[in-house]
C-alpha cells in the first residue's frame, strides 16, 4: 500500500543512497592504481568529486521527497479520481502543509488551483453551522474562525485515524467521499403572480465539489457538538461513512434529499 510505503520508501532510499557508492569506490581505485601514472592522476579526483555530488543530490532528493509528502506521510501521486467531472477541480499537488496563504484569492477560478486538502481545511474554519439543526444553531464561538493551523492539525489527526481504521491512503478516502456526496441536481425558486415555484436545474462541476466539501465539514461540526467525540474523530467517521456510500452519512443524506426535491420539480 502506497500510504504506508511513503515513509518506508524514504528510509529505504536513504540507506540505498549511502550503500551504493561504497562498492564503486573499491572497484574504481583498482584500475587507477594499475593504469599509467602519467596523465591519469586527474581522473580519480574527478571521480571522487562526482561521487560526492551524486551522494549529496541523492540525500537532497530524499529530504525533498519527505518534505513534500502531505503531513510528512501521505503521497498524493497514487490518488485516482474516478469521476471525470470532478477531476478538473480536485487538485492533488504535493505539499507538506497545504497552505497557499490566500494568494490567488481574488482571481476568477482560484479554486481550480488550490489543493483539495486545503479546501477542506478552509471549509472547516467557520463560526458554526449557520442554520438550525435539531432546533439549535450550533456555534463554535470563534474557536475555529480564522485559525488555519489549528484546523490543519484537526485534519492531520483525522487522516491518521482514517489510515488506522481502513488501511488506505486518507486522501483517496477523501476523494471517494467527495465523489459519493456530490449532488447532480438542484432547485431554484421562481415567482409567477405572487406564488413561488421550484424549478430543477443542473449543477456545474465547481459547485458540485463546493457542496460536497461543505456538507462533509458541517457534519463533523454537528458530530462533535456537545459530545465527547473530538472534531477530528467526527471528521474521520464521516469520511469513512461517505466513502463507503453509507446512507447514515450526513453528506449523502443531504445529497439524496436535494436530488429527490429536484426530481419532483422537473
Amino acid at each position: 500500500m502506497s500510504e504506508d510505503s511513503g515513509s518506508d520508501n524514504v528510509e529505504a532510499g536513504k540507506i540505498a543512497a549511502e550503500a551504493q557508492p561504497l562498492p564503486e569506490q573499491e572497484t574504481a581505485k583498482e584500475p587507477a592504481a594499475e593504469g599509467q601514472k602519467e596523465g591519469e592522476e586527474a581522473k580519480p579526483a574527478a571521480k571522487r568529486a562526482e561521487r560526492k555530488t551524486v551522494r549529496r543530490t541523492a540525500k537532497k532528493e530524499n529530504i525533498a521527497l519527505a518534505e513534500s509528502l502531505l503531513f510528512g506521510k501521505y503521497s498524493l501521486k497514487d490518488v485516482t479520481v474516478n469521476d471525470p467531472s470532478l477531476a478538473n477541480y480536485i487538485i492533488l499537488a504535493q505539499k507538506t502543509y497545504p497552505n497557499s496563504y490566500g494568494r490567488r484569492r481574488n482571481r476568477v477560478y482560484y479554486i481550480a488551483h488550490v489543493n483539495i486538502v486545503e479546501r477542506l481545511i478552509n471549509k472547516l474554519m467557520r463560526g458554526g453551522t449557520g442554520q438550525k439543526i435539531g432546533g439549535k444553531v450550533i456555534r463554535t464561538e470563534g474557536a475555529l474562525q480564522g485559525k488555519k493551523i489549528k484546523v490543519m492539525h484537526v485534519v492531520k489527526d483525522a487522516f491518521e485515524t482514517v489510515n488506522k481504521k481502513t488501511g488506505k491512503n486518507p486522501v483517496q478516502v477523501l476523494v471517494n467521499a467527495l465523489e459519493n456526496s456530490a449532488p447532480i441536481e438542484d432547485t431554484t425558486r421562481i415567482r409567477y403572480g405572487g406564488i413561488n415555484y421550484n424549478v430543477a436545474v443542473g449543477i456545474s462541476a465547481a459547485r458540485r465539489l463546493d457542496v460536497a466539501l461543505r456538507n462533509l465539514a458541517l457534519s463533523s461540526l454537528i458530530g462533535a457538538f456537545k459530545s465527547r467525540k473530538s472534531l477530528a474523530d467526527a471528521l474521520a467517521e464521516e469520511l469513512i461513512l461517505a466513502a463507503n456510500r453509507d446512507p447514515t452519512s450526513y453528506a449523502i443524506k443531504k445529497k439524496v434529499e436535494l436530488e429527490r426535491i429536484a426530481r419532483s420539480a422537473r
Binding site: 474516478n82 477531476a87 447532480i184 421562481i190 449543477i203 456545474s204 462541476a205
Partner: protein
Amino acid sequence: MAEEQPRQFDGYLAEIVEIQPRKTGMFGSIIQAMCKVLEGKDKGRVIRRNLSGKAKVGDMIRLGDTSREDKPINIK
C-alpha cells in the same frame, strides 16, 4: 490505489460546449449552457440546460435525465 467501486447511477456525463452570455433566475444566479451528452440513449445530442454555479467551456457535468430541454427562466 485504483480500486474500482461498484458505482450506482450518477447521471449521464455531458460536456459544456457553449455558454450563453445572458444570465437567468430570480437573482441572476443561473446560467444557460449548451451541453453535449456523452453517455446513454441520447449520446451525441446537444441540449440547452440551466445550471447553478460557475461553469466554463470544457467542464464536465452530470445530468439526471437527457430527454428534456430547458427554457430560459423569464422574470417579470
